[in-house]
Amino acid sequence: MSHLIIAPVVLPAVIGPLIILWMRHDLLLQRVFSTAATAALAGVALYLNLLAAGGEVQVYRLGNWAAPFGIVLMLDRLAALLLLLTALLALAVQLYAIGSGWDRKGRHFHALWQFQLMGICGAFLTGDAFNLFVFFEILLIASYGLMIHGGGEMRLRAGVQYIAYNLAGSTLFLAALGVLYAVTGTLNMADMAQRVAQMPAEDTALLRAGAVLLMLVFAIKAALVPLHFWLPSTYANAPGPVAALFAIMTKVGVYGIIRFFTLVFPQDAVTQSVVADLLLPAALFTLAIGQAGILGTRHLGRLAAFAAIGSVGTLMIAVAQFTPQGTSAAVYYLVHSTLAAGALFLIMDMIGARRGDLWLRSDRAMPDHGLIAALYFVAAIAIVGMPPFSGFIGKLLVMQASGTAPAMVWIWATILITSLVAIYAMSRAGSIVLWKGAALGPASTPAPPAAGGPKLEPDEPIQDLGDAPANWLAVASVMLLLSGIVALTAWAGPAMRLAEATAAQLHDPAAYVAAVLDGQEGTK
């Protein structure tokens, strides 16, 4: 048993308070420590991937208590992969926040960032259902602080909506856990899986209600239609780097669905097909509404938010197949869509910083249009799923995985038609903002910072280019995210083999259960 399994939770949990208590007045120190902690998190995540690559599910028993009485942390391939993805995304986006000066528009950015990472990593690692709720609350409460970073009327208003929606979701989560505990008498996920499997079929009405409640909770986090209403305003009004980090938060909901409905409620058992029957139409509507939203919106932040909703829709189509092939397609597409959505939010923020607003209109000059257009082009191709980037491969895999499904015609038609809509919408937005903006000439260059340093109006919706301390760093971090997409395309073969191994492990819940519950006399 490696103690490093708990490091992704402990490391940010130590650095976060340290930043608040010890270096609250020194931004440079905060930046150094916070970035170093995130980089160390990436290193640990890489090691944990090597550890999980053996194919054995690793168990970390907190306080050495025997399961199911103590809380366990579980490390399998999926958890390790998502930890690495979280750490790399957070590192790139954090560099962007430093380079663009977003982190000094308000206080405690870096501390909240670390708490956010703690919550996300904990949610991926835990093997206890109630502990999952606690980590959800940690990541949510940090996200409330990050979402209103910088303040301003619209951001606070959107923040109230975001909190209200998620508080309602949290009460639903507790209700689901209460029902599951009342039926199974345990909260340990492996133990619950075992008891659910042994339950006589005529006694499972309450259990099915609990399973559907749980699915609703995760669907709220993943922003599945019709539970997506919190997302567009929240992401469009959040600071650019924060919205980019939130790209992994919708994936926490997807992770919850994958984990619970492969481990505790496998589709052939108690829940029959009730969950898949609900998930698939929801996923199709999510995809359709997300891509239609890209076309319909007049705000670039909302455009990126709807693109994120659409990518969750594609992802959930693959998940809702509940076959090893579907799950492996979902794992591949999950990595791709997180990187693509994160990059898109950062590019929108760069556009806002240069033109002064984020509305989709052609009467604003666009400085640096060549560079931004190149970045936007790559990100847009990736997110709509055109060749040559990994979005195309991902969509192909999703379609392949659903090729034998009964609803195959609906799935393929939705994916193909909405892809066309998204291509049109993204190219329209790009040509209005970048092409027509370029035609206006290099007028209205950003005003140089006033004599007393940068002006840093705290409640501005966007970050001025004149306030950016190291603009090259911001550009480089976006390129880092996009190079992740290129790498995922170039090494699609190895990535796909990893995804297939992950899916095979997920669809073998017996090994997971055995790792937790068997052979723990005198646990170590």
């Binding site: 209200a164 508080l167 209460g178």
Partner: protein, 127 residues
């Protein structure tokens, strides 16, 4: 006993759902509180209702009540209390910055040059 508890949970939930569907953030915060009360009572009841029994299993004890839901309720109370404080502060911030305590987004969120004022819909008399 069962009837009392379940009807209390039901009424609290109904009041909470009604309140969080209101347009003013004060009502929404109250509704959240009601909902979390209801859920706390519900969690408490998931270990079955046992009267006058200790929450530990001891030798010689004829009956005991499940201690785990009580621990869960404690955690849930702490978390929902903290979250209520956060949402109250945030609603206050939005009220001070925006001048009204509506929870829906003004038109300026969707349209360039849209209205930011409180009178978004004519004939709006929501109290």
């Amino acid at each position: 006993m069962e009837l009392l508890l379940s009807s209390a949970i039901g009424m609290l939930t109904a009041a909470g759902v009604y309140l969080i569907l209101r347009r003013r953030s004060f009502a929404v915060v109250l509704g959240m509180t009601m909902l979390s009360y209801a859920i706390n009572l519900f969690l408490f009841s998931t270990g079955r209702l046992v009267v006058n029994a200790p929450p530990v299993l001891r030798e010689g004890a004829a009956a005991y009540t499940d201690p785990l839901p009580q621990a869960l309720v404690l955690t849930a109370i702490v978390i929902s209390f903290g979250m209520t404080a956060v949402v109250a502060m945030m609603a206050l911030g939005a009220f001070i910055e925006g001048g009204d305590d509506r929870v829906d987004m003004p038109a300026a969120d969707r349209l360039p040059g849209g209205s930011r004022s409180a009178k978004r819909i004519s004939g709006d008399g929501d109290a």
